[in-house]
């Protein structure tokens, strides 16, 4: 941090006036200090979690508390795999969140294409219906939804977990806003060349929608990867349980083993953080062009 501050401060100024230069330098230093403070404040729980996962139990539950570990251990990461079926939970979560993301991106963008680029009677009605669902609290449907899936014998199956999430009002809305912002020229040209609507969607529109698809993909993936309530309700044994549900069970059973809990928590956060870091460059672009303007 000190080097950054230094290089920022010695950058030559346009104005020769000594006082202005000092002021600008102080201002810039203050900005960097503020930036570091904000980053630290925001990341504190995650940093704490990371450190806690490497601490022995007695070093976490101690007074006075410290941020940095006084002792270091990898035992938490070794033991979590045996304390609960962690590998299985991981695989289940990946299967659930991965499938939902891929299927939903497909269905959402198809519906959005129709709503944004095609003309048909009833378009506004469908769109208003989607907006209504956007405002609907998910919890309101939980009980009847469980009943329905129970009657279809889909409780405790991946199908039952995935299919109700196969499309999403927010995803349709998000993609529609992006599609509205695309120019019409290429599509018209393709239509004149006799391309089918499916080909226009697949070969013209979707490639242009890459940043929006990546952004929405991150939303879908993180939402389902992190979701606690839905997998918890839909699974009755470990064979289909996901990590958040597994960790919550773990919390109940081994309530004192915080180090292990934090190791599991850190491992559970890794995929979404990695995915975010991978696509973050498309991210602002994805939101910027999604017609919020």
């Amino acid at each position: 941090m000190a080097t950054t501050l230094h290089t920022a401060a010695v950058r030559p100024q346009a104005r020769p006036d000594q006082r202005t230069r000092t002021l600008a330098r102080a201002w810039r230093a203050a900005t960097v200090v503020a930036a570091v403070a904000i980053a630290f404040a925001v990341l504190l729980p995650i940093i704490w979690m990371l450190f806690a996962s490497f601490r022995p139990e007695q070093d976490i539950v101690t007074n006075p508390p410290t941020l940095f570990p006084r002792a270091f251990t990898l035992a938490n990461y070794r033991e979590i795999w045996h304390a609960i079926p962690f590998a299985e939970l991981y695989r289940n979560t990946l299967l659930f969140a991965g499938s939902v993301t891929v299927i939903s991106l497909c269905f959402d963008s198809m519906a959005a294409y129709a709503l944004a680029r095609l003309e048909f009677k009833g378009r506004n009605t469908v769109f208003v219906g989607i907006l209504v669902m956007l405002m609907l609290p998910f919890q309101i449907t939980l009980v009847p939804l469980y009943d329905l899936l129970n009657n279809l014998h889909l409780v405790n199956t991946f199908t039952g977990m995935i299919v109700p999430r196969a499309t999403n009002a927010f995803g349709i809305f998000f993609m529609r806003q992006f599609f509205l912002s695309l120019p019409k020229d290429m599509e018209e040209a393709a239509r004149i060349d006799g391309a089918s609507e499916w080909r226009i969607y697949w070969q013209v529109i979707l490639p242009l929608a890459r940043p929006a698809l990546l952004t929405l993909g991150l939303f879908h993936f993180q939402y389902n990867w992190n979701d606690l309530l839905w997998p918890l309700i839909m699974t009755s044994d470990n064979s289909h349980a996901t990590i958040p549900a597994g960790l919550s069970l773990f919390m109940g059973q081994h309530v004192t083993q915080y180090g292990m809990l934090m190791a599991g928590a850190v491992l559970s956060l890794l995929p979404v953080i990695l995915m975010f870091l991978l696509i973050q460059r498309s991210f602002v672009q994805g939101i910027a062009t999604t017609g919020i303007k």
Partner: protein, 319 residues
Amino acid sequence: MSLQITSHPPAAAAGRGSRPGGRPRGRLSYRGRQARAAWLFLTPSLVVLTVFVVYPMIQAGYLSFTSYNLVQAAQWVGLGNYRHMLHDPQVWNALRNTLVYAAVSTPVSVLLALALALFLNRAMALRGFLRSAVFLPFVVSLGVVSIAWSFLLDPDIGLLSDWLSHLGVTTQQGYLQDPSTAMAAVIAVGVWKNVGFYMIMYLAGLQSIPGELYDAARADGANAWQRLRNVTWPLLANQTMLITIMAAIGTLQAFDQIYVMTHGGPFFQTETLVMFTYRIGFENNQFGYAAAVSWVLLLLVFALSMVQFTYFRKRVVTF
């Protein structure tokens, strides 16, 4: 304006008059084929949404007039649940908490997001890192990270409690256990989680404002505050509308951090409508009553959206 239902892309209207070349295939006209294609594109989504969202929602409406408890068949009780609600102090408490949560959390989130976006829209060291850092809480699981927050706020071994006590802010019971601070703590975590997302939306808005407008304002002698007040803020009206709606709807539905950190306590001080619905539904098995309360929540969300919608619609500035 994005949320305007009537906003067609101008090109779509133009395309109708000048029909693209090529002979219409089959018996359907160009528009007929387009309509058929549109419905085919919509089918997967509409089937899923109808079966797994619309039907359960209607079913929830029906259940709200019954005494359903998942074990016995639903018994019709008419408006019984709704009448009971009027005299149930727990419902009024949950409603008040929900409104307090939303009324504090929404403006704080939106203003903080705007401040962060303005700060991070300038050229500065660490900008990319800082943007990612502020956004990171949004992608991590609130259910998981709430455990860390509870730990940091623990009265005996909590790091934050310890630091705050050095600053003279002390707590005997712990922030989550003290009825006067529990709500503030839960709100703070909710804001922490979402502010990065709203900040990114504001950043996107800031980047869409043409630089010439600022040059012109500078030429007219506008200072930084006047530029913010007269250029940035009005041109961000659409963003503000969308972010405020999303923030308000999100806060009305807050659940994870409350469930993990306080479970609605202490003394029901942080029990919001969703938490209440969960408790009486999934813990007390009163599904009929839970459905009735969730319909009240639904109406609340709608009313709020409509108020914001009409308010912001008048103030939209386009360029």
